[in-house]
Symmetry: D2
Subunit: 185 residues, 4 copies
């Protein structure tokens, strides 16, 4: 049972990371900071002759780490009412992996994973973050991942998330669920 | 009266561009292809000492073109139920411009613009594209832009959008509105 | 091939009905005006001993007419960003029919139907009507009905819908689709 | 400081009521059970000559109790991914009150209130209940009420809500907020 956290933010020790810490406290996790990788935008060649061309960047290194995990936490600051552009770049590239001969069982492998979303924003995230959650629902449904839960937290200035008691509690709740699951395996 | 089209897609003559052509037919427009520019992910330094650092990429060139337009068309393929990562990278950077001393009236200038969204996806866009539209609503509300309308089209394979009669009609409808507006000015 | 229109509004010749007329022009339809019936609120007895009790009102007469149709048009004014209370009362009662011994194949019969939604509101329906459309999606998914399309129109004062060219065109588009379908059968 | 709970459900001691009990524990509240009242569907006469006609039912008695409260809890089971038809009937009638000469300051009085939503459903409420929350957001925005928070709980069979630890915690969280607020006044 391996837990992977996919961080979409850019700020070191930002609010999203602080909230995520509550979720993973005491658990063995693999931390994947997308900002440390170079990810090129997808070049949509699904219908091009010859299909997708090999892309030279760090995407393969990331997706290999992701595929190796059983539970995925998508931890992103809410930028402009949506996931960070960096995280979106990463997910966009799944379209290429779906056609990649080296990953013929991509969808099958993804479909046995479970996922959580942890998202923190400054502008009324409990309401204005809802379209983001709906998009993750569609994303997970498409690829077959089971959407197990989410936390929307409020935070803008550094450490502000620590005042969002509800978000902290919900994060701890997920932590207990994960802890139980790990023990069972 | 200047119309600017901001393209978020990567495919040359893709479905999104085909649908957008219906909207801009016969109108003088400024075409901004985000894929031709290099846009770095935002580095969230809103709360860092010294604030945002100057970024070396093409963002400034794009935003200057955008600021120069009165009406903006956001034309994006729907990748994973949301705007393309490239377009998201661009919008994320607005946070930096909001703090940029060279653009002190950024919000004020944006707030007199009108915007339309043209988005094409393959997986039930009229339903699964709705969170994307809601996010644009929040984005435009935040920056003050007036959200004048949108078209959601269905298309996956090249030219498939040409079978979506409803989307084509709605695009033509916007074209007439824009045409009227240009004549009035 | 039988088309049934389920009207949720209360105003005679209101905007919703005017828009719906475009959809059904020249087609043989069964018009069901919910306002002409008395529908009691559901009494949730799914888990009561003995189950649901027989209710004395007009619901059975309506559902029998609905079950008899192949294509359903849900035509409702948008009251407070949602379907009318009258239409909601009707749909709520489906929970009872799902447990009713006289309708053991209720879900099966519903699941072969196709549905459209026609909704008219005065306060930015193209954006603020989206949650309503999402709810219809969930409703239809649950019961198995295929959600074929929708029109959101803008209208407040009598006849105002006639100025919403986009809605009128989209309504005519559905009309042509229905006409084709009827001819094929 | 007066707290009013508006119950939309029909089941005695249902899951929604159980969850709401956590929110109001130890607090002085006014309980308004809509099911105990007779509420007629709105007859939309906003644009009729002579305007709305007096309606003979219990609506006035309810709205008077509601107007008398400072904080409103809208507690509804999620029927078909939305509030109960009974609660919808009640809210629909606000349109009449907005035009009622006996309530000329209706909007003004509503606009100083705060509101919470407590909604319990059996079919993935944390995701499929989101359109309902968005609708409440639009409703409260329109009338001017401040939307302070919400709890979405999962429950189908009697008492099932007691297994939804996250919902129970979030309910207790609101309870503490309300308790603090009452003490301050």
């Amino acid at each position: 049972m391996k837990i992977g956290v996919i961080y979409g933010g850019t700020r070191v020790t930002g609010n999203t990371e602080t909230l995520t810490e509550r979720v993973i406290q005491g658990l063995p996790v693999e931390k994947i900071y997308l900002k440390d990788y170079h990810i090129k935008p997808i070049n949509d060649e699904r219908h091009s002759q010859g299909g997708f061309k090999e892309v030279t960047d760090d995407y393969k290194a990331i997706i290999d780490r992701v595929l190796d995990c059983d539970i995925l936490l998508f931890a992103t600051p809410i930028y402009w009412f949506s996931m960070s552009g960096t995280m979106k770049l990463f997910i966009d590239r799944w379209s290429q992996t779906l056609k990649d001969e080296r990953y013929t069982d991509f969808k099958k492998v993804m479909a046995v994973k479970k996922a959580y979303v942890i998202a923190v924003g400054g502008d009324n995230p409990l309401l204005k973050g809802l379209p983001l959650i709906q998009q993750f629902q569609y994303i997970f449904d498409f690829i077959g991942i089971s959407f197990e839960g989410y936390v929307l937290g409020k935070g803008n200035k550094p450490a502000e998330i620590l005042q969002d008691e509800q978000a902290l509690r919900n994060a701890s709740q997920i932590q207990r669920t994960l802890e139980r699951e790990i023990k069972l395996k």
